[in-house]
Symmetry: C2
Subunit: 243 residues, 2 copies
DNA sequence: TCTCGCTTTTGACTTAAGTCAAGGATAGCA
DNA sequence: TGCTATCCTTGACTTAAGTCAAAAGCGAGA
């Protein structure tokens, strides 16, 4: 395993190879052998992104999809009047912009931007289609990934239509807590990887309302907010707001 | 082709076989030959549903998925306090409850009910998994179907978070008009296949608000509402509300 | 360390949509 | 044809959240 990792890290052309950052961690590719992963990294490229750096814009010609290796990516749309709507917040090892591959779209239907300093892996569509044809086992993984996205979206839709902002924020905080690695119950705190305005967009509200909602939860002693760090003081009461 | 159709209709055990109702119209299966379609109908069953008849409930043991052959199906969830949230409105030839197949779920995560008199096709999960394994070509169709659902959900999420009810209703009416077969611009009218309360749920609002919104559009001379029939009087102005 | 610009908070106000309650309309059935 | 249950509409009122404006906080670079 150590061998695999170091070979791959070399392929990713990382100046200071971080062994934990490799395609081996990507569920989409987890079934493949090193030789096949080499093949993938052969036609793909690594991109380092600064905070807030755009990746592609709605309407750009569709050339392929991405995997997040490190950081956080925001996938969003802008309505004609400039209102931003957040479609996904993508975390490490998950793909984004892979859906258009299967829709004969010629252009990206959304925009994407790095929320923090990030590393992504770009996979050109034609090479990937060729790879799929030669390795149809990957279909199942693609389906599994889509199923996960569908579940996430239906849950969000449900939350936005039936809950008020307080419940949606509580949902989000608990989800972050559960998804974030380690520190199960020790230090129950979350560091936002985005502007509060972005979180507001994800929750289907605006920054002022989010600010007031944070304040309300803080006044009630349920959380403590210090800049981008939110500490959960009373998990049970937070959970109770969830619905 | 006439031959194929009649054989299949027989398989569906339709008392008065409607030739247009066959698996041949189902995109998921459109690539298969008659012999394979026979195999599918061999392990599946046809269910005739009365208006408002429940199909399965959230929490029921997951036994398989469905295809709509005729009618309209509502897929929904109920929140603890009884508020209904509509996940999908499924039209003929589209599948529903197929996502859990790929999530190792043991129970249906949603409920489903016929909105009008309908005919559905039930496909048991174990038989279908065996079929998939023997016919991996179907993976691509499944992916395509999921991609379509993902697009629909992101569009709805966007519409619900950035638009007001008037725009959402306009969106819906135009979508219905475009999706409904024939009658392109001749008679521009829509017949709702559901209660107005259900449509309200789909649009992320409530029946009173929907009623007032219908009235507003009617007062402005954009549509005419007579019971479940909505006639579009001024397509351009309706489209302009869309955003 | 200071500044400038961006982010966040706060306040006062508006508004779209939800709630509650009542009255009509309508469809399905006896 | 009439009855009843369900569906839909309307009115009066409340409320959560959005808008607009200003001040405060903060952070990256000079």
């Amino acid at each position: 395993m150590g061998n695999r990792l170091s070979k791959l890290s070399a392929n990713l052309k990382e100046p200071q190879p971080n062994k934990s950052i490799t395609l081996l961690n990507v569920p989409l590719f987890s079934q493949f052998e090193v030789s096949e992963l080499r093949q993938i990294s052969g036609f793909s490229s690594v991109k380092r992104l600064k905070k807030h750096e755009p990746i592609f814009l709605q309407g750009d010609v569709y050339t392929g999809f991405y995997l997040v290796l490190k950081g956080r990516i925001k996938v969003y749309t802008l309505s004609p009047d400039g209102k931003e709507s957040i479609v996904h917040l993508v975390r490490p090892f998950d793909p984004f912009a892979e859906v258009p591959l299967f829709e004969q779209l010629k252009h990206y239907p959304v925009s994407a931007q790095a929320l923090e300093e990030s590393i992504v892996f770009f996979i050109p569509k034609d090479d990937f289609i060729r790879f799929i044809e030669a390795h149809p086992q990957i279909y199942f993984k693609i389906i599994t990934g889509f199923a996960k996205k569908l579940r996430e979206l239906t849950t969000r839709l449900e939350s936005i239509t039936t809950n008020e902002v307080t419940a949606r924020l509580a949902n989000y905080l608990i989800m972050e807590l559960e998804e974030s690695p380690s520190q199960k119950d020790s230090q129950r705190s979350i560091t936002l990887s985005m502007l509060k305005a972005t979180l507001a967009g994800y929750l289907g509200t605006i920054t002022e309302t989010l600010s007031r909602t944070f304040k309300k939860l803080q006044d009630e002693g349920i959380i403590a907010v210090e800049g981008k760090t939110i500490t959960i003081l009373d998990y049970n009461r937070l959970k109770a707001l969830t619905k």
